[in-house]
């Protein structure tokens, strides 16, 4: 069981009086802290408190403009890696190496941009900040490159050194300049041109033979005292024999211990095997640093890599870097290389998933990078879905566009709870702003029957007050969504009635109107309105309602008037009663007249 190394990180909040306490609470992506006193007293404190609230976050790098490019482009590589068809054997290895190189080129591009920003910076503080970011990115690329060589390419003895030479050359500029000097200078003796060898493509056997030859020749020359007259040439010879002391004398040309290591290996063990690497690495580090200096975090990370301790590399990098980007992506890639055994972790059984979750959560603090986070959660089989559910609901729905984007993401993943919740928020906001059409379409999208009923009622109330419908387009084109709630169905059908009437299709309109009451779809509170709507149809020259239908209407009227419970205030009721009574009388009259005409019409030879 892994122990959590080191003490927990302490973050200091400035300005808070040491005699007081701190109260806090969580926001969706941050921690709020402020000074307070928990002893609750009735009267105020004699010493006024600090009026500041501190908002504390742990993923501030998401806000960096230049790093954003890194996040965006690496996201593309990440998703590509999850989706590519797995090849086998050598092609698989080549595939993974390609992905690794892609990641590295993205880091380098970001580094370059950061470097340009540092040069162009207007003040020294920002310039320094940019420059320090450049060094961090450079360290990242250095580590990633080494991991690529040792873990992904898995270079066997021989080629390993060549790759390490390339690695050192890429990251240590001085080597290049020395090579240039040596190449350019006149070489009177054959063996000095051996400096040309870094980078040459030679087979392992050729290299070993050549090396053996040179090594023996150099040793012979040294012992014969050929260079006694020239200390410079003598030390050069010693270097080529891999004499550590001689190499160390040229320390100023070697920028760091891993440069020393590779140089040393070049001259003493050019066919070094991967498993022996860490012996030389450790001793190179010790020799180079000497007694006084202590290794820095970067040294420890590289050392762990030379020891092929992947978990240690990841652990050290997690501590050293300020954001999860590096460890999340590298670990994921190494997992694809099948290099991570299931490792007992403190906060989750799967290291890859743990790191990806941490990285993705951080992205959600950003107003647009959160979209990248969604994909990362998708590829976390254990806790990805539930993490996404929790985070996505907290995205501020500042524009309709954003809301639609969020909803699409939820709908694609069948996150019905979240869809319902988000649509409800938008629907209620629309209702409060009296945008009933918008409210209705949100409740339909949420498949929220109860809310659809509520909004339909509002529409109907609106109609009663104003005599016309708002948002006709929406109601006319409800389609199957109409079935969501009875009230909504009624609203749709009622509007249809109005359309039929407008098109002068009176018979159809009449049948529809009647059916709305007889099928019980219409709420009783609306029946009076419907019956009143029937009046113009009853008063037409032609007979529209058949006798049968008129009997039905009469029955509905009776139903309505007889079963009416006592409602409203006593005074109001008298007034209402008056109006109601008049209406009812009018209806009764109209219906009676229509009945008479209908009977006559149906009874006579012309009618049918």
């Amino acid at each position: 069981m892994e122990e959590l190394d080191g003490e927990p990180i302490v973050t200091l909040i400035p300005g808070v009086d040491s005699k007081k306490q701190m109260c806090f609470d969580w926001g969706p992506g941050e921690l709020l802290v402020c000074e307070t006193s928990f002893h609750k007293k009735g009267k105020s404190e004699t010493v006024p408190g600090c009026p500041f609230i501190y908002i504390v976050r742990k993923d501030v790098d998401v806000y960096s403009h230049i790093l954003r490019k890194l996040f965006n482009e690496s996201h593309g590589i990440f998703v590509g890696l999850q989706r590519i068809e797995e090849l086998t054997g050598k092609s698989r290895k080549a595939q993974l190496v390609r992905v690794s190189k892609n990641y590295r080129s993205v880091i380098r591009a970001c580094m370059e941009e950061m470097h340009q920003a540092a040069i162009a910076a207007k003040d020294s503080t920002s310039s320094r900040q940019f420059s320090s970011q450049v060094s961090i990115l450079s360290a990242m690329e250095l580590i990633w490159n080494l991991c690529e060589i040792l873990f992904i390419e898995v270079a066997p003895a021989g080629p390993l050194l060549l790759l390490l030479l390339d690695w050192v050359r890429l990251h240590v500029c001085e080597v290049d300049s020395i090579l240039a000097d040596v190449l350019g200078s006149e070489n009177p003796s054959k063996h000095e041109s051996f400096w040309d060898s870094p980078g040459n493509t030679q087979t392992l056997t050729e290299l070993e033979l050549k090396w053996q030859h040179w090594h023996e020749e150099c040793e012979r020359h040294l012992q014969d005292g050929t260079f006694v007259s020239s200390p410079h040439l003598e030390s050069l010879c010693k270097i080529m024999l891999g004499d550590e002391a001689a190499l160390l004398e040229q320390k100023n040309l070697l920028s760091n211990w891993y440069h020393f290591l590779v140089t040393r290996l070049l001259y003493s063990h050019p066919t070094v095997k991967p498993i022996d690497l860490h012996f030389y690495a450790q001793s190179s580090l010790d020799l180079f640093l000497g007694a006084k200096s202590r290794p820095e975090p970067l040294d420890n990370i590289l050392m762990a890599a030379f020891e092929f301790d992947i978990h240690q590399v990841i652990k050290e990098c997690s501590i050293a870097f300020s954001n999860w980007w590096f460890v999340a992506h590298l670990t994921d890639l190494l997992d694809h290389c099948k290099l991570l055994q299931s490792h007992n972790l403190y906060f989750g059984s799967n290291m890859r998933e743990f790191l990806l979750l941490e990285y993705a959560s951080g992205l959600f603090s950003h107003h647009s990078l959160w979209q990248l986070g969604v994909d990362y959660f998708d590829y976390c089989p254990e806790l990805g879905r539930v993490s996404l559910e929790l985070h996505i609901e907290r995205i501020p729905l500042s524009t309709e566009q954003k809301a639609l984007k969020v909803l699409r993401i939820c709908e694609q993943r069948q996150m019905t709870e979240q869809v319902r919740s988000i649509c409800k928020i938008l629907a209620m906001k629309a209702v409060r702003n009296n945008r009933l059409g918008s409210a209705l379409s949100w409740s339909i999208r949420a498949k929220d029957a109860a809310f659809a009923t509520l909004v339909s009622d509002r529409f109907l109330m609106d109609y009663c007050e104003r005599g016309c419908f708002s948002d006709l387009d929406l109601i006319d084109n409800l389609g199957p969504a109409m079935m969501l709630s009875d009230r909504l169905t009624f609203l749709g059908k009622y509007r249809e009635f109005h359309r039929l009437y407008g098109d002068k299709r009176f018979v159809d309109a009449a049948s529809l109107l009647l059916s709305l009451m007889t099928s019980q779809i219409a709420p009783r509170s609306f029946w009076m309105t419907l019956l009143t709507d029937a009046l113009p149809l009853l008063e037409q020259k032609q007979v529209i309602f058949s006798a049968e239908q008129t009997y039905e209407l009469l029955r509905c009227l009776e139903d309505l008037t007889s079963g009416r419970p006592e409602q409203g205030e006593p005074d109001q009721q008298l007034q209402d009663d008056d109006i109601e009574a008049t209406k009812v009388e009018m209806l009764r009259l109209s219906l009676a007249r229509n009945l008479a005409r209908a009977i006559i019409k149906e009874g006579s030879l012309e009618g049918s």
Partner: protein
């Protein structure tokens, strides 16, 4: 790397007792002994005072934001025995309801999960807990649990909504039957779990005993999709317990001691994604804890008061980022 990204100057004239972010992290509400409740817009690292709400006649102890589907609604409770509910209507904040049913200081307010409707639980030093339910048209229904805790109730916290059975086949228009529960902590050293019965009355379902002094705070952890329920409690006795119940039906809660501090522990709070517990102590620190694979709680971070001139680091770009 943790850093202070924004500092909001509330200009409160007296001690601040609570600060709460709204659901989306765009607004900040604060309350103080100066009797006011203030609301700030804190988007993009800025601070704009939106409202300065007056209405309480004593120090205001807590504020709580309701779920955004109900609009912009904030509740506050105070030493003046009142609970006030504030609402934003047409761009201005106003008092929309005042609850005066308690005989002494109201210490804690907490909104129920939005699935239940708009319900507010309030805990008071008179030992009672009241539940305010919005019934429409500006009306609030009140249910009171008298003598919930002897001497006084210090904290209330709702359980996350758990829907029994499937939500998919609900008949049109019908609301699913939620089992509403909340936890309270009081001066009787107990944590009590309350459940709503079918008749709408609240009944004490369980007592959780482990503290030897007043329980100062309880916090029910958000749900992460597992059947386990988790509650954190802290007390005058310096102990913080994490209580877990593996199965909703079995109802056996087991406490685990998170840590024993040297002083009173006043406040505990779960992060939104439920994996980190923040604990404040009398020793002037806020510590962050996370559960390890083997069930042990480990301190992962320490937020401490600064001693003078330590300056907060601000990463480039984020002040002027949109």
């Amino acid at each position: 790397m943790v850093s202070v990204i924004n500092t909001v100057d509330t200009s409160h004239e007296d001690m601040i007792h609570d600060a709460q972010m709204d659901y989306y992290g765009t607004r900040l509400a604060t309350c103080s002994s100066d009797r006011s409740v203030k609301i700030f817009d804190v988007r993009n690292g800025g601070q704009i005072l939106i409202a300065d709400l007056r209405g309480h006649e004593g120090p205001v102890w807590q504020v709580a934001w309701a779920h955004p589907m109900y609009g912009n609604i904030l509740a506050s409770c105070s030493y003046d025995r009142k609970v006030i509910i504030w609402k934003e209507e047409n761009g201005t904040w106003e008092k929309t309801h005042e609850h005066t049913g308690h005989d002494s200081s109201v210490n804690s307010v907490c909104w129920a999960p939005h699935d239940y409707g708009l319900i507010l639980a309030c805990g008071s030093s008179d030992g009672a807990i009241s539940l305010l339910t919005y019934t429409g048209e500006g009306q609030w229904d009140v249910k009171k649990i008298n003598n919930a805790h002897t001497i006084g109730c210090n904290a209330v916290s709702w359980a996350p909504a758990v829907v029994p059975g499937s939500l998919i086949d609900q008949p049109s228009g019908q609301k699913p039957n939620y089992i509403k529960k909340f936890a309270s902590g009081g001066c009787d050293n107990l944590i009590k779990l309350w459940k709503e019965e079918e008749d709408g009355q609240w009944k004490e379902e369980q007592k959780l005993e482990a503290h030897s002094d007043w329980v100062r705070d309880v916090a029910w952890a958000p749900s992460i999709g597992l059947p386990t329920s988790t509650i954190a409690s802290c007390s005058q006795d310096g102990r913080v317990f994490v209580w877990t119940c593996d199965d909703a039906s079995s109802n056996t809660w087991s406490p685990k001691l998170l840590h024993k501090f040297n002083d009173v522990v006043w406040h505990v709070s779960w992060s939104i994604t439920a994996n980190i517990l923040a604990v404040s102590g009398g020793d002037n620190k806020v510590t962050l804890w996370k559960e390890s694979v083997d069930g042990q709680w480990v301190c992962i971070s320490d937020v401490n008061k600064g001693q003078g001139s330590v300056s907060a680091s601000v990463t480039e770009g984020q002040q002027n980022e949109q």
